[in-house]
Amino acid sequence: MDLTLKVWRQKNKEDKGGIETYPIKGISEHASFLEMLDVLNEQLISEGKEPVAFDHDCREGICGTCSLYINGEAHGPDRKVTTCQLHMRMFKDGETVYIEPWRSKSMPVIKDLIVDRTAFERIQQAGGFISVNTSGNTQDANALPIAKPMADKAMDAATCIGCGACVATCKNSSAMLFVAAKVSQYSYLPQGQIERKERVLNMVEQMDKEGFGNCTNTGACEVECPKGISLEFIARMNKEYLGASIVSE
C-alpha cells in the first residue's frame, strides 16, 4: 500500500519543529506501524536525510516505550494495542497518516517523535513502590494468602506499562489514569498497606508538581489505554486520597 505520511520533525528541545510530508510506497498491510517507519527511515537515509527519531524497545506491547499519536489518536486507530502492535491493515491504501509525539507540557519533545517521560519516573519515585528488606531473609511470597479477586484487581492495575497514552489523549493532559494504576496496584495487597497513605499523598503531590492537568472524567484515557486500565482505579485513587487526607496530620 502507498501512503502519505505527515510526520512531526523537531531537531531538539529548543527547536520549534513542524510537520514534514513524506510519500511512502509498497508497504505490506501485514507490516507493523514501526516496521513501516523503519522503511521510511531507510528511505530517508538513502536520500541522505536525517531519519525520524521515535521511541521503541520490546516491539511486543510490554515495555511501554513506543508512543505515537497517529491520525489523531494515541497509539493509532486500533484499540488495546501499543504503537508497536498496530498493523498497517488498519489503514487504507492512499491514506494520509499524521504521526505526532505525545503533547503535554509535562512531557516535552526531545527530538522528532520522542518525548521526555521522566515525569512518570519521578511520580513513581515519590511512592510507587513497597519497602522490603531484601537481605536474603525475605519471606516466601506464597506464605501470604491473598484473595483471588484482590489479586486479580491488583494485577489489572499492574498491567499499566507507563506509556503515557492516557496523558497524550486526555483533553486536560491529566496523568490520573497512570497514577491511579500505580497507586491502586499496591492498595489491594497486604504488602502495600504500610505505606498506603503516604503513597497516595506523595504520588498525587508529585503528579501536581509536574504540571499535569486535572481529570474531568471524560473517559478518553480508558478507551485509548493499550492495557485497558479502568476508570475504576481513578475513583479508587480519589477515595484513597480523600481517606489519607482526612487521617493525615
Partner: protein, 222 residues
C-alpha cells in the same frame, strides 16, 4: 484534613463533586416546588412563601447555596484554564470524538451557558424578591409568587431563552451527575451502571420538566 487537600488536583476534583451534589439536590427541590405551580397555584404560593420567609432557609441555606454556585463556577473555570495550559502545543490532527463524548469534553461550555442563564434568572426572580424583602421591608406577601411567575412567562422570547438554557442544564447534568460519583471515589461494578442510568433520567426529567413548566405557564396565561 491534610493541608494540601484543597490545593491538590484530586482534592479539587472531590470538591467539585461535592458542590455538584449540593447543586443537584437544590435543583431537585427547586424543581419539585416549581412543579406545584402547574396544578395548584395556592400550594405553590404556600411553598414559595415558606422558602422565602423561613429564616433557616433565608439566612443559612441561601448563603450556602450562593457559595456553592460561586465555588463550582469559579473552580470549574479555573481548572479549565489550568487544563488548557497543560497542553501548550496542540495536535495538528486530533480526533477527540473517537474516545469521549462531546458533552463530557465541553462541560465548561454548558456550564457557562447555565451561568449566563442564571444572570437572567436572578434578574427575573431573585432580585425582585430581595428588593421586596430587604429594601422595601415587605416580608408578608403570601400570594405574590404565582402571579409573578405567570407574568414572567408571558414574553415568548424569555420562554425561549429559558427553554434553551434548560437544554444546556440537561447536557451539563448528563455528564455531571455520574461524574460527581466517580470524582468522589465511588465506582462500583454493580452500582455505577445504575448511577449512570439514574443520572440520565435526572438530567432528562429536570430539563424537560422545567421546559414544560415554562411553556405551560406561557400558554396558560394567554
Amino acid at each position: 484534613m491534610s493541608k494540601g487537600f484543597s490545593k491538590s488536583s484530586v482534592g479539587r476534583k472531590v470538591l467539585m463533586a461535592l458542590s455538584g451534589f449540593f447543586l443537584i439536590s437544590f435543583l431537585l427541590l427547586h424543581f419539585v416546588i416549581n412543579f406545584l405551580s402547574v396544578f395548584d397555584a395556592d400550594l405553590f404560593n404556600v411553598a414559595s412563601h415558606f422558602m422565602g420567609t423561613n429564616w433557616i432557609i433565608q439566612f443559612i441555606m441561601q448563603p450556602v447555596l450562593l457559595f456553592g454556585v460561586l465555588f463550582h463556577l469559579i473552580m470549574g473555570i479555573y481548572l479549565e484554564l489550568k487544563n488548557r495550559a497543560a497542553r501548550p502545543i496542540k495536535y495538528a490532527m486530533n480526533k477527540p470524538s473517537e474516545n469521549a463524548s462531546w458533552i463530557s469534553r465541553n462541560m465548561v461550555i454548558t456550564g457557562v451557558m447555565v451561568l449566563l442563564f442564571l444572570g437572567l434568572h436572578f434578574y427575573d426572580f431573585w432580585v425582585p424578591e430581595i428588593v421586596d424583602k430587604f429594601v422595601d421591608g415587605i416580608w408578608d406577601q403570601p400570594t405574590k409568587y404565582f402571579t409573578h411567575l405567570v407574568h414572567k412567562f408571558e414574553d415568548p422570547v424569555r420562554v425561549g431563552i429559558y427553554c434553551l438554557s434548560f437544554v444546556f442544564l440537561g447536557l451539563h447534568l448528563l455528564h455531571g451527575f455520574q461524574s460527581a460519583f466517580q470524582s468522589a471515589g465511588f465506582n462500583h461494578n454493580k452500582y455505577t451502571p445504575l448511577i449512570k442510568k439514574l443520572g440520565n433520567l435526572f438530567a432528562i426529567v429536570i430539563s424537560l420538566g422545567f421546559i414544560f413548566i415554562a411553556v405551560f405557564h406561557h400558554f396558560n396565561s394567554h
